[in-house]
Structures are given as structure tokens and as C-alpha cells.
């Protein structure tokens, strides 16, 4: 709890925490939606926001407010899956590569570098087109995660490389600690802020990429996400027709989400940074 109190002293954390709570509430509300998001014409089309329809309705005949709750929920799920899975891979690869060294290191880094160098976007587009029929939230999340781990694996590896040379590694070895326990207990505290901030950055990246793919029409458009809402809005010329409520909703939500995630990652990683932690420890 002391951790939270310290974190709340940072205005960025306060803002992002607030925004994320609101967004999570929205996502949660999707469970109570009176309308099925995949159906059309459940409500009159193209109505302006009013007391009955809080954010108006779209050209598909859906209530935008309730659509948005689904969209937020789904976008978060996709990005969460993407970020978690890619973190897992990055940590595994980075730690094994950094601690073992030698040929294991070279092979793993070769794979990682290849993924960094390949033009990501083109491959994504190709894969998305191939998989489009089977596309659902999980598949999309996994797809995004394949491309999200390479950079961070290298960063984690460099942290491990430097820690391996420190004397406390020798002390741990002299205390009889095995390799796995050593890496977990000794190195993780150093890697954690890195992992945490990259997790959140990865989520941002995943959401952004999903929106891009959706606008290009490469995902399953019947599943409401922030990206698909924008896609439909563009298809129906919402801006030209003046249906601003339809376009602004996903845009505003996305912007707030990005800023909140960014500030969250910055404030938490500053808090967790070993250098500032050492100052706080034992004080």
C-alpha cells in the first residue's frame, strides 16, 4: 500500500490511473449491454447523441455507447494477450541468451534480429489476409505477439549480461544457488522495471497496430474493436456526413488510452528503476 501512496505522488500516475479505471469500467459495462454488438439495425440509424442513446447511433443501426464498451473491451483483450505472450517470449529468450552466452546466445539473437529487420508491416498484412477467416481476438493477439518480443529480448539480454559480471553473482554461486534460481532471484529485480514498462508500451503498440490493420480491413470486421469502429465509420463516410459522434468516440478513447498507458509506464518504471529504488531502500 505504501507503494500506491508513493506512486500517487506522481501526477502522471494519477491521471493514467484515473483514465484506465474509467476505461476498465467501460469494458466491464459491456457485459450489461442491452444490444448484441454483432447485429445490425437494433436501433434507429444515424441518430445524434441524446438522453436515450448517449453517444448516438451509427449507420449500422448500433448504439455507439454500447458498441464502444465492447470495442474497448476487445481492444484491451487483444493487446493484453499480445503483450503478455510477447513478454513471456522476450524474458525467456533474453535471460537464456544473456546467461548462457556462447552459441545459444548467437542463435537466439540471430532469430531475434531477423524479426527486427523483416519489414513487419508487410508480413503482418500478408498473414492477416491469410488468416482472416479464422481471425478472432486470440488469434490476432498471438499474431501481434510474434512480432513484439524481439526488441525487448535484446534489451533484457543486455541487462543480464551486465549483471552476470557483477560480484554478487559470484556470491550467489558461492552460496550454492543454481542457475535458474540465481537468474530469478538476483536478476529479476533489475529486469522488472524494464519488463513492466515494455509490457505497457507493447500494449500501446498492439492497440495501434490493431487499429491500423482494422482500418485497412484486414481483420474480422464483425467483432467490434476500436479499429473496426473506425473502419465502419470511414466506410460509411461518417466525417463527410457530419456524424461526428461516430468518429470521435473511438478516436477520443484511443487517444486517452495511449496517453494513459504511456504515462503509466513512465511513472511506474521510474519508480521501479533500481537506481531510485536503492535510494529509497532502507531509508
Amino acid at each position: 500500500m505504501k507503494v500506491f501512496r508513493d506512486l500517487f505522488k506522481d501526477y502522471r500516475f494519477c491521471f493514467s490511473f484515473g483514465v484506465l479505471v474509467i476505461i476498465l469500467i467501460l469494458a466491464f459495462l459491456s457485459l450489461f449491454s442491452p444490444y448484441d454488438p454483432t447485429l445490425w439495425n437494433v436501433v434507429p440509424r444515424d441518430l445524434k447523441p441524446s438522453a436515450k442513446y448517449l453517444l448516438g447511433t451509427d449507420s449500422n443501426g448500433q448504439d455507439i455507447f454500447w458498441q464502444a464498451t465492447y470495442a474497448v473491451r476487445n481492444s484491451l483483450i487483444i493487446s493484453f494477450i499480445a503483450a503478455l505472450v510477447s513478454r513471456g517470449i522476450a524474458i525467456l529468450v533474453g535471460m537464456v541468451s544473456g546467461y548462457k552466452g556462447g552459441s545459444t546466445d548467437r542463435v537466439l539473437m540471430f532469430i531475434s534480429d531477423s524479426l527486427l529487420v523483416i519489414p513487419l508491416f508487410l508480413i503482418m498484412v500478408m498473414l492477416a489476409m491469410l488468416v482472416r477467416q479464422y481471425m478472432n481476438l486470440v488469434i490476432l493477439g498471438l499474431l501481434l505477439s510474434i512480432f513484439g518480443w524481439a526488441w525487448d529480448a535484446r534489451v533484457i539480454r543486455s541487462v543480464i549480461l551486465s549483471l552476470r559480471e557483477r560480484e554478487f553473482t559470484q556470491t550467489a554461486i558461492l552460496s550454492g544457488t543454481g542457475t535458474v534460481r540465481l537468474v530469478m532471484n538476483e536478476y529479476m529485480p533489475y529486469a522488472t522495471p524494464l519488463i513492466f514498462s515494455t509490457l505497457i508500451n507493447n500494449m500501446s503498440w498492439a492497440i495501434g497496430l490493431e487499429i491500423t490493420l482494422a482500418i485497412l480491413g484486414l481483420v474480422n470486421l464483425s467483432i467490434p474493436t476500436l479499429g473496426t469502429m473506425l473502419n465502419w465509420a470511414i466506410t460509411y463516410q461518417a466525417i463527410l456526413l457530419g456524424h461526428w459522434w461516430w468518429v470521435y468516440t473511438p478516436v477520443v478513447l484511443s487517444v486517452f488510452l495511449f496517453v494513459a498507458l504511456y504515462w503509466l509506464s513512465v511513472s511506474i518504471s521510474e519508480y521501479l528503476d533500481p537506481r531510485t529504488r536503492i535510494q529509497r531502500v532502507g531509508a
Binding site: 559470484q170 556470491t171 552460496s175 550454492g176 544457488t177 538476483e186 533489475y190 531502500v281
Partner: protein
């Protein structure tokens, strides 16, 4: 057993440089020494002489290029961790990097106890840890739950020794344990070594460049210079009546705690340490005040003069006709 630890013709070479211009640096050049049970043996020399590299090889953190390390009669092969259960432990120079600054210090103690199965229950473990801490002048109550930066350097170094004592080692390798501790506090650490030797029969390989504490605490001493042992023998002989010119230089350069005994002559220093490593012949020839022509091309043999091993042409009677 006559020799607890024996090092035979230990050699470690490093190759520096790129594909085009490689030089071979011999950090440890065929050194041999042994340590008896319940003895404090010092490996002394300035930085870059190879003493720390030798310690790392003995501990198994580095591989030697050639030569043997034999402990309790068994040769050490490759990097083995079983070494530690055989009764070897180590402490290092900087107590603040010896422990992970983000973890409490007691975690290392509990891990040692668990990994080596030194106690079966938590209270037993605490009792054992407390016993070892009391040996170094601390107690468990003031120790539990603290991070490294809550201690002073001297205290932390003593805690480091206590950790090494948990496994009841017979050989403690101490790599520059007092260099980062204030001169006035070094006694407290070095007296501990004496206590370990006298009360528990532990041998200590004391690696240092501080000859004053080396004189105070050791039984035998070996002086290293750029990878070679140039003089070795009982400490009273080597430090009070030095024979090798380098030992003499070292001995004279130690500031005496007596304002009347100030230095009068000047000393010349080397600029590029590198060069001395690559010399043919005796590595000290560049700075030796009594250098002879042959010193620059012929490596001196290891000669024994009155119980002391000296690596210097001056003592080689076969040259004097």
C-alpha cells in the same frame, strides 16, 4: 596432510587485439605455490600482477591455460561448483558489490543454509547464522532484514566473512578484503583471519597489495610481479630482509607511521604497464636499480636462498665465476 592447496605451474594467457595485430598477454606465468592447513598465506603485489586472476582460477570462475590446481590431493577440473562443498569459500574486495543492493543481506545467508542443508528448521538456521555473526562481532537482531546500504563498509565486509564461514570452510580465499576499508579499521578484519586460523584451523589465501597488514597477519608470503612470483617464503624473512629488488622497492615505498622516517630518494614509475608484460628476460629489468645486461634477455631461475625462493640473477651463484 602436508598441503591443503597446491598450485603447479599455473599459466593464464590472454590474447588481445584484432585479427591483424594480436598480442599475447601472460597474466599468470607458470606460478607454483602451496598452502598448508591452518596457515595464512599471502599473495602480494601491485595491481596487474596476476594475483586476482590466480584467485579466480582457483575458485573456478576462470579457466587456466595450463597448469594444475590441486585441493586436498584432488585436482580441480573445469569449473566445478562442488569445489565449495569441499570446503573452499571466498570473500571479495568491495563489500557493497558483493551483495545485491536490491536484496536484503540475510537472504544470502538463508540460501546458503538451504542449499547446503546446514539446518533443518528455521530456528536452527537462525541459530547457526547468529553463531557465525557473533564470531565476527555482530548479532542476528541487528542484522535481520537490512539492505547492504544500511551498513558501513567494515561491517559489511565482516558480514561477508560470516557468510563464508557458514559452510565451515577449511580454505578461505580473501581477495583484497581490506583495500576498500579505512586504514584504521583494517585490523578488525585482519584480526578475524588470525582468529580463524588459531581457533578453527582455517587456512586463508590473503590476496592484497597492503604489505603492512600482510606482515601483520601472514605466515608465509609470495610477492608477485607481472605474472611471476619473484620472492616467496616466511613473512619475517621476505618483508624484513627482502632480497629481490622489487620486494625491496615495495618494502621501502610503504609509508612509515613515523614522521622522522620520510622518504628521501625519488622513485621512477612506469607509464605503460603493458610494456613490462611483454618483456623478454626479467620483467623488472626496466626499473631495477641493480639491473645487469643479462637480465634483459634471460629469464631468471627460481633459486632458493635460506628458505626463501627468489627469482633474480643476482642470487644465481652459477653466474659468478
Amino acid at each position: 596432510m602436508e598441503k591443503l592447496l597446491e598450485v603447479n605451474l599455473l599459466k593464464k594467457e590472454y590474447t588481445l587485439g584484432s585479427l591483424i595485430a594480436r598480442i599475447k598477454l601472460t597474466a599468470v606465468d607458470n606460478i607454483s605455490f602451496y598452502i598448508k592447513p591452518a596457515e595464512i598465506f599471502t599473495l602480494a603485489g601491485e595491481s596487474g600482477c596476476g594475483k586476482t586472476t590466480s584467485a579466480k582460477i582457483i575458485l573456478g570462475f576462470e579457466e587456466q591455460t595450463s597448469g594444475a590446481v590441486i585441493h586436498k590431493g584432488k585436482p580441480k577440473t573445469r569449473k566445478e561448483r562442488a569445489w565449495i562443498t569441499e570446503g573452499v569459500q571466498a570473500i571479495f574486495q568491495d563489500p557493497f558489490t558483493t551483495f545485491n543492493p536490491l536484496r536484503t543481506v540475510d537472504r544470502y545467508f538463508f540460501e546458503t543454509v538451504q542449499n547446503f542443508k546446514l539446518a533443518r528448521t528455521n530456528p536452527e538456521a537462525i541459530a547457526l547464522i547468529d553463531r557465525k555473526l557473533k564470531l565476527v562481532g555482530l548479532s542476528y537482531e541487528e542484522f535481520a532484514g537490512k539492505y547492504p546500504n544500511e551498513y558501513s563498509g567494515g561491517q559489511l565486509q565482516r558480514i561477508s566473512i560470516a557468510r563464508a564461514l557458514l559452510t565451515d570452510p577449511t580454505l578461505l580465499i580473501a581477495d583484497e578484503p581490506v583495500s576498500m576499508v579505512d586504514a584504521s579499521l583494517r585490523m578488525s578484519i585482519v584480526n578475524l583471519f588470525k582468529k580463524l586460523r588459531d581457533e578453527f584451523g582455517v587456512s586463508v589465501l590473503y590476496i592484497t597489495h597492503d604489505l603492512a597488514t600482510a606482515y601483520y597477519v601472514s605466515d608465509r608470503i609470495a610477492i608477485m610481479f607481472r605474472g611471476n612470483i619473484v620472492e616467496m617464503g616466511p613473512v619475517e624473512q621476505v618483508l624484513m630482509a627482502p632480497r629481490h629488488p622489487y620486494t625491496k622497492l615495495l618494502r621501502e615505498s610503504i609509508p612509515e607511521i613515523d614522521p622522522k622516517k620520510r622518504w628521501h630518494d625519488t622513485v621512477s614509475l612506469t607509464e605503460l604497464e603493458h610494456d613490462e608484460y611483454l618483456r623478454n628476460g626479467c620483467k623488472f629489468a626496466g626499473r631495477c636499480p641493480v639491473v645487469m645486461e643479462m637480465c634483459k634477455s634471460v629469464v631468471p631461475r627460481d633459486l632458493v636462498v635460506d628458505d626463501v625462493l627468489v627469482k633474480c640473477h643476482k642470487y644465481d651463484e652459477s653466474y659468478n665465476s
